[in-house]
Amino acid sequence: MANIIEVQDLTKTFGDFVAVKDVTFSVEEGGIFAFLGPNGAGKSTTIKMLTTLLHPTTGSIRINGHDPVADPDLVRRSFGIVFQDPSLDEDLTALENLELHGALYGVPRATLESRITELLALVELSDRRDDFVRDFSGGMKRRLEIARGLLHHPKIIFLDEPTLGLDPQTRNHLWSYVEKLNADEGITVFFTTHYMEEAERIARRIAVIDHGIIVAQGTSEELKQQTGTPTLEDAFLALTGSDIRDEAGSSTDRMRSHYQMRHGGARRS
């Protein structure tokens, strides 16, 4: 099958800090792809470039055949995303958040209503549709964000650490839902996670990134064989070492701390 995501020699630098370096990979249409790496390895920066939020320094990206820099709107129509941290408007209700999304993506009014009902049922939030998001638990917000990400029927869904801070029940529920979507609708899934057993169970292909460089790619079996380890977690540690990493809060934080370092502002931590 054709590749729906193609990334070639992608590099992103902030000042003289190289966040992502010469990254090349592809995801086939209908695939489930896990993008793994320690904190600060360049996962979120890569996702931001794939989803038009950051411009690459060099390299090329094709999402559903379009270039995120040249045709951002065509790319944006092709994917849904669940960000690492919440991106809902807490002062609106669940329904209003979905309606806002529908309006932004131009989902026709008639379809919108039935889709919202359907998706809220799927993520089991039907009875909370008119409640304010600020009263939701972390798991409920995640589920609502997943429903929102799917509202415009994207071809690709990006899930950036979607299960972070969720209990095992919610996690299982979420993954079985994602697998069902992939099987029934053929949606391509691109996700990151720190839970190796999730990647091992769900992903058909895995790429491991460290210090901005892809250090290994393949199926879970191939990665284990390559490193001669019994589990994906061991393979991951063998590939990336066991040092603990620090991650700046976001690329903007990184940019700022960099700026301060160079201009002698703040102390180095």
């Binding site: 809902l88 002062d91 903007t252």
Partner: protein, 248 residues
């Protein structure tokens, strides 16, 4: 178009729902009206300048609008911190329409506050020179609100967090307000101060409000209108540019 509407609707909904914000934002204008209007009234009268409450009411309306409009524009920073900004940044609509929706929404909210202050001023004893003048005054309010909403978004697009907010308040909003002639007539002030006031768009906004509400003005109405419309257009263009350049 849909995107502009939905972003406008969001601003309005958030405002209408936040009773504490509405009440809180009226506290300061009331204090200014009552304390200054009644407090400095006798001095103003003795100086032969007429009724001070009448004089500052348009200025206080301008104040409530500029505070509310810039504050609304700065909402972009909160949206950045609470994550919602990303949702609008990955949406397949031009950032121009997102920015316009936000600006018009913020301006609607700020004008509504201006109207509330007008009503309060009337309750405190303010009488517009003619009721017909209130209609064009509402138009001026909307224009002032648009101008400063766009400015707020422009500034907020360049800021990463709320640390800079205090700076903006003290070095942008406060000077814009105090140097605008909202509280004193610009007719007899030292030339230096007049020069500064001439570079403050709020001066023209307040002046136009005075023209329609109390029938006096420092500048010709055409100049007021021209500056307000021109600066609004510039700020909208700059605001859209900076907003479209946001990277997260």
């Amino acid at each position: 178009m849909n995107a502009v509407y939905i972003m406008w609707l969001r601003e309005v909904k958030r405002f209408v729902r936040s009773k504490s914000r509405i009440v809180g934002s009226l506290g300061q204008p009331i204090l200014f009206l009552v304390a200054l209007g009644y407090g400095l009234g006798p001095v103003f009268q003795k100086a032969g300048q007429g009724n001070y409450l009448e004089f500052i009411a348009p200025g206080i309306i301008g104040m409530s609008i500029i505070f509310s409009a810039i504050f609304n524009g700065m909402q972009v920073i909160w949206d950045r911190q609470f994550g919602f900004l990303k949702e609008t940044m990955v949406a397949p609509v031009s950032r121009l329409s997102i920015m316009f929706g936000r600006t018009i929404g913020g301006a609607t909210v700020a004008s509504a506050q201006g109207v509330l202050v007008l009503v309060i001023a009337i309750a405190a004893g303010f009488r517009p020179v003619s009721w017909i003048g209130v209609a064009p005054a509402l138009g001026v309010m909307l224009l002032i609100a648009l101008l400063f909403s766009a400015l707020g978004i422009m500034v907020a697009s360049r800021l990463k967090d709320m640390q800079g907010f205090q700076l903006i308040m003290n070095f942008l909003v406060m000077p814009l307000f105090f140097l605008s002639g909202a509280l004193f007539p610009l007719n007899n002030v030292p030339t230096a101060l007049l020069m500064v006031a001439r570079f403050d768009p709020l001066s023209y906004g307040v002046d136009a409000l005075r023209y329609f509400l109390i029938g006096t003005a420092t500048f010709p109405l055409v100049l007021d209108g021209g500056v307000l419309i021109g600066v609004t257009a510039i700020f909208l263009a700059l605001g859209s540019y900076f907003f479209s350049k946001i990277e997260i």
